[in-house]
Symmetry: C2
Subunit: 338 residues, 2 copies
């Protein structure tokens, strides 16, 4: 792996598009001196953002024109047929061509998944890509996968997710033998559905992972595992329902500090504390979900990410490039499952 | 339905047993003048709690001796074989015998489910019992089912849950045509697993429910539905992961107000606000989950419920008796599905 690397940024994706993604990318270039960026999108839209750039940053920015954008409501099958001229398609294609080492998009998740799989293909021995992201815990954070790529998973898929998640956590967080748990509705061996029970047996038989057994929903945030594995339906519901509750609590905090003059005064005094908390409350704050299992790095940013949050997704891409995650997953899957 | 009714309370269940369940029951008797209670448990343990009772309450309390207790770790199959002398078994049996109109327990959920089903049997047309409980929303609360009774559900089961949940919400909350949603990972028709997609079709074809379509995890707390239906694996994970995050946020609030003298001072001032919030934060605060679909009322309290929370479970039992929920479910299922 060269010391210089390039990220392909789909600047058109997300709720705010170029006015978030381009400034965030330019900031990332300032943070990472060995990073170059290819900005993929409509060049007429991109150019105005590049006026008056610091020459050190300007020399590391390339614009790749893409006339089309994939909408948030586009069906994945449509993007395969008609998406070739879209910013997302071209961004992934640059990774496949070796012109970039990672792609970052805040666009349509289903389309990113389908195009990633079609253009980059799966790693040998991996049946399906999985979306992994981190959630805050009492002890720091843990990674949860799959977050919605796969609505029905077999035990073998869950085993593959466990290996991929373990590899990524070990590499990106520098943890030796990260603790791997399976999300389940109880801690006893008899609990759970058939896939989860069989996956537990497969992981134990496989033997190479630091498996800590079943993790219940409320343990997810306790920090008792570094990687928690589940199918995409369950993972998506767990993450989103937690986000929903965090939002509700935040609304209640705001409302609570508005009841009466005294409480309003308190809110003024407590503003820095409350603002700290708001930041800590959002389980999706650590932005930048990875699509694991592909022959290349694809990072999905939250569609509603602001500039700072999109920056986290770019940092995640840099970390995965530096650690060469796809190659590490490939060799672990080969060593353990073939 | 007579104006006088009796609840059978498994006083031995839960993390704290009689010292929570008995005072909570005596409080409920004081609140509900037409309520009687049968306290089921070891009579030696129960008697000391009944000394010096107000005669008006004392005349409405009965003790039913049960020498055994079902442990939290007992396997449901064991309780069927060896549970006859347990407080939980006898409490449910009293409902079957007509000596009580509802049973409340904070004990082992799996055992309660299996014994409820074995002793009371299912309502005609209902294949499986479902656990339903309410969660707070921005607009009040909504009911979520199933919360763990059924790890794998067919579309037909989800349809039955939808009807049962709708009946209960209409009756207990007095809502005409409660809005029914299906928990899913997206709002578009193509999203979700096969069971959920088919269930959506069945509910639409059935036509009698006020169906509002798919509800995503983060919408659960937004108040866009009155009843949200899912399989027990997903429901359990959604509820517990939300509880886990609420606990984490609460820890962070506490910690945040302890950093430095100024923040400690603020915490002192803000104590009533923070204590308000802590109460509102816990999605399980509205205690008292119902086992719907049985030929009798069975209410499950949180194992860790304190006296006040166990009281909510008793109130839930009273509300379901007053509304004669099993009979209403029976006639709705008959009208719609047979």
């Amino acid at each position: 792996m060269s010391d210089y690397y390039t990220i392909a940024v789909d600047v058109m994706g997300g709720d705010f598009g170029p006015r978030i993604t381009i400034p965030a990318t330019l900031d990332a270039l300032a943070r990472h001196s060995r990073l170059s960026a290819k900005l993929i999108g409509h060049s007429d839209v991109i150019q105005p953002f590049l006026n008056g750039l610091n020459p050190d940053v300007a020399c590391r920015v390339d614009v790749v024109h893409a006339p089309d954008t994939i909408s948030m409501s586009a069906k994945p099958s449509q993007t395969l047929r008609n998406g070739q001229e879209s910013s997302m398609y071209k961004a992934i294609q640059l990774v496949e061509d070796g012109a970039a080492q990672a792609c970052v998009s805040a666009g349509n998740t289903g389309a990113l998944m389908v195009l990633g799989r079609y253009i980059l293909r799966m790693l040998p021995g991996v049946d399906r890509p999985a979306i992994i992201s981190s959630v805050p815990t009492a002890k720091g954070h843990c990674y949860l996968l799959d977050l919605g790529a796969n609505v029905d998973c077999s035990a073998e898929h869950l085993l593959q997710f466990a290996i991929m998640g373990s590899v990524m956590t070990a590499a990106v967080d520098g943890i030796q033998g990260p603790r791997v748990g399976l999300l389940n509705i109880g801690q006893e061996q008899v609990k759970g559905n058939e896939q989860v029970k069989l996956a537990s047996r497969l992981i134990q038989e496989q033997g190479g992972l630091n498996y800590v057994g079943y993790i219940e929903g409320d343990d997810l945030y306790a920090g008792n595992a570094d990687v928690v594995v589940c199918d995409g339906f369950v993972g998506n519901i767990a993450l989103k329902s937690s986000e929903g509750l965090a939002r509700l609590i935040n609304q209640k905090v705001q409302a609570s500090f508005k009841q009466g003059l005294y409480r309003k005064f308190l809110a003024l005094l407590a503003k820095p504390v409350l603002s700290d908390l708001k930041k800590q409350m959002d389980p999706s704050r650590r932005n930048g979900a990875s699509l694991l299992g592909l022959q290349g790095i694809v990072i999905k940013s939250h569609g509603s990410a602001n500039q700072q949050c999109f920056g986290y997704a770019l940092d995640q891409a840099v970390a995965e490039i530096e650690q060469d995650i796809p190659r590490k997953i490939c060799s672990e899957i080969e060593a353990r499952l073939t």
